[in-house]
């Protein structure tokens, strides 16, 4: 666990003129500062119009870490980009409310995909393969149902444990 936490580099990639920052490690102050610098440098250097910071891998977001992330979002707007924060878990949200955290006017979306959708007026539209013919779907109905059921049960188990 210690090794994972001390990773200072978070992978980022650009899609549709938008910087996607999926954070899959627990945050600490230094890491937030590092991520903030990386984001600002790339937004400015590559003239990006949007940023999605996905926190779905983050379980602990205290008041200072949250401030760092939300401040980063507001800083990007001064560079002409718009940042959406996505992937906040129920536990993170409940904690932020108890901490009386003020999120400001930073847009929030549930998932990374929805985050990108939110940015659509600002970033390149999703490239739809125009002539792509829809292949005949050959999904074994029984198999599909089984998978869905499994996923659902697994989801319940986690919370009850």
């Amino acid at each position: 666990m210690e090794e994972e936490i001390t990773l200072s580099k978070v992978g980022m990639h650009v899609t549709r003129d938008c910087l996607v920052v999926p954070i899959q490690v627990e945050l600490h102050d230094e890491l937030v500062t590092q991520i903030q610098e990386d984001i600002l440098r790339r937004v400015k250097g590559e003239r990006l119009k949007g940023v999605v910071i996905d926190l779905s891998g983050v379980a602990i977001l205290d008041s200072v870490l949250a401030r760092g992330v939300f401040d980063t979002a507001q800083m990007t707007s001064l560079l002409g980009a718009r940042t959406v924060i996505t992937g906040l878990s129920a536990g993170v949200v409940a904690s932020l409310i108890d901490l009386d955290f003020e999120p400001g006017n930073v847009p929030i979306a549930l998932t990374l995909d929805e985050g990108l959708q939110t940015l659509e007026p600002y970033v390149k539209p999703k490239e739809e393969p125009e002539e792509a013919e829809e292949p005949e779907k050959e999904i074994d109905q029984d198999e599909k149902d089984e998978t869905d059921e499994d996923e659902e049960l697994e989801g319940y188990g986690k919370d009850e444990e």
């Binding site: 602990i60 008041s63 200072v64 129920a90 901490l99 919370d159």
Partner: protein, 136 residues
């Protein structure tokens, strides 16, 4: 998960990285105690705030985490202790958005809301001991 009653861990807080370490440890304890995912997050966040205060105001101290067990349910207790400057005005420190450093405040009202029980023992120049508990 048998015999967790006496499980206890003491963590030193002297570097910034210790904050997230303590919070992560608290999350594991909360899971052992039987908290839901949301409950685990809340406990971990409270520990993060407490450890942060130690690091920020006292430079060093320690956080002790243990699982509590009573007849009806389990819980978790966190003791955050330091020999730092202490808090002169507890009343003010328990108000939202109070801060003496350049950061965002002690976060104590938030910690109190995240947990079920909150106790503070502090003396200027001697130190601070904060004990919090949350029940499943």
């Amino acid at each position: 998960m048998a015999r967790m009653k006496n499980k206890k861990k003491r963590l030193e807080i002297s570097e910034e990285i210790n904050i997230v370490e303590a919070a992560s440890e608290a999350m594991i304890f909360a899971q052992i105690a039987g908290f839901t995912r949301v409950g685990q997050h809340m406990v971990a966040t409270a520990v993060s705030e407490l450890a942060r205060n130690i690091y920020l105001y006292a430079m060093k101290g320690e956080v002790t985490i243990r699982v509590l067990e009573r007849e009806t349910n389990k819980g978790i207790e966190i003791v955050a202790e330091d020999n730092g400057p202490g808090i002169a005005d507890i009343g003010a420190a328990m108000k939202d958005h109070f801060s003496t450093s350049d950061s965002l405040g002690l976060g104590l009202p938030g910690v109190k809301r995240l947990m079920d029980e909150f106790g503070i023992d502090t003396k200027p120049g001697v130190g601070t001991k904060i004990t919090v508990r949350k029940w499943v």
